[in-house]
């Protein structure tokens, strides 16, 4: 998959991306949409805890308070074949009165996208669920 770069649309409509901003320097409350963009698609999450691919919304009825938005890339390098594969991860960390939550959209390719929901109790994972989005 070609290099995806993350973009942010803030609540006042400003567009920021990986080349011009540092995610840690952007206050969580300012973020409206946070997404990876390829030539064909947008994969991301909004400030209503809804994940989306382009115009298609995946509403998992999440109601927690957003702590932060995150993204990271996972590289898998074959030591025997010298080939590299990058998987793009984007999501949010959230909490309610009792637990912490981590919701991740895992973009392996344009046509292979998973959603991972994790529930934590004092930092320890207690539940996990994976859903195929595409």
């Amino acid at each position: 998959m070609n290099d995806l770069i993350w973009s942010i649309e803030t609540i006042n409509g400003t567009l920021l991306n990986e080349d011009m901003a540092v995610l840690q320097n952007i206050e969580t409350e300012r973020i409206k949409y946070f997404y990876f963009q390829s030539k064909k698609n947008c994969f991301g999450v909004n400030n209503k805890l809804e994940f989306f691919i382009n115009n298609q919304i995946f509403d998992f009825k999440l109601k927690q308070k957003i702590l932060k938005f995150f993204q990271y890339k996972e590289v898998s390098h074959s030591l025997m074949f010298d080939v590299e594969d990058i998987c793009y991860n984007i999501g949010i960390e959230a909490e309610d009165d009792n637990y912490q939550y981590k919701y991740t959209m895992i973009i392996k390719s344009e046509t292979n996208v998973d959603f991972l929901a994790q529930k934590f109790d004092n930092g320890k994972e207690i539940e996990k669920r994976k859903v195929k989005l595409r």
Binding site: Q71, V75, M80
Partner: protein, 167 residues
């Protein structure tokens, strides 16, 4: 900040006394990992240890220009992929990170726990991290078979991936 600039090297050591038998070679050129013979009937260890040297932003990268800083490679791990025909003899693959402790214990990497995570760069004080400031980690790997290992076609088969995260 630039992405992690990972480069990968292997060398061959004797499993008898740890002597170097073949010097470092880039995995770009060396795609065959050769562990030598293992006695699957009596059980035992491979003739050779294959050592991986994993660099992030190695000094040679900039070719004499001032050293730059790349992003850290975090959550580093070595993952084994074992095809079905070789799964009945696992665990057979063992690894250890010798960056800090050359006497550290080899741990099995198998279908039950496919990822070896005890990886750390020698400039890093963070677990699983190889820093982007010319840091590197060294991992030794070997094959060990139990007595009466049933090896079909007298071979064991697997591939290895190195995984890391960055932002």
């Amino acid at each position: 900040m630039p992405y992690p600039r990972m480069t990968y090297y292997t060398r061959l050591l004797s499993n008898e006394d740890g002597r170097q038998l073949l010097g470092y070679s880039s995995t770009v050129h060396n795609k065959q990992l050769f562990y030598g013979r293992v006695n699957g009937l009596k059980g035992g260890e491979s003739d050779y240890i294959v050592e991986f040297d994993l660099w992030n932003n190695e000094p040679a990268w900039d070719g004499g220009t001032p050293q730059t800083i790349a992003q850290n490679a975090v959550n580093c791990r070595l993952r084994i992929n074992i095809p079905p025909e070789s799964r009945d003899i696992n665990p057979f693959f063992y690894a250890r990170c010798t960056t800090y402790d050359v006497e550290s214990e080899f741990k099995d990497v198998s279908m039950a726990h496919r990822e070896f995570k005890d990886i750390q760069g020698n400039a890093s004080d963070e677990y699983g991290t190889i820093l982007g400031v010319s840091d590197h980690a060294t991992i030794e790997t070997k094959i060990k078979l139990k007595p009466n290992s049933m090896i079909k076609h007298h071979q064991y088969s697997f591939t290895l991936d190195f995984l890391y995260n960055y932002e």
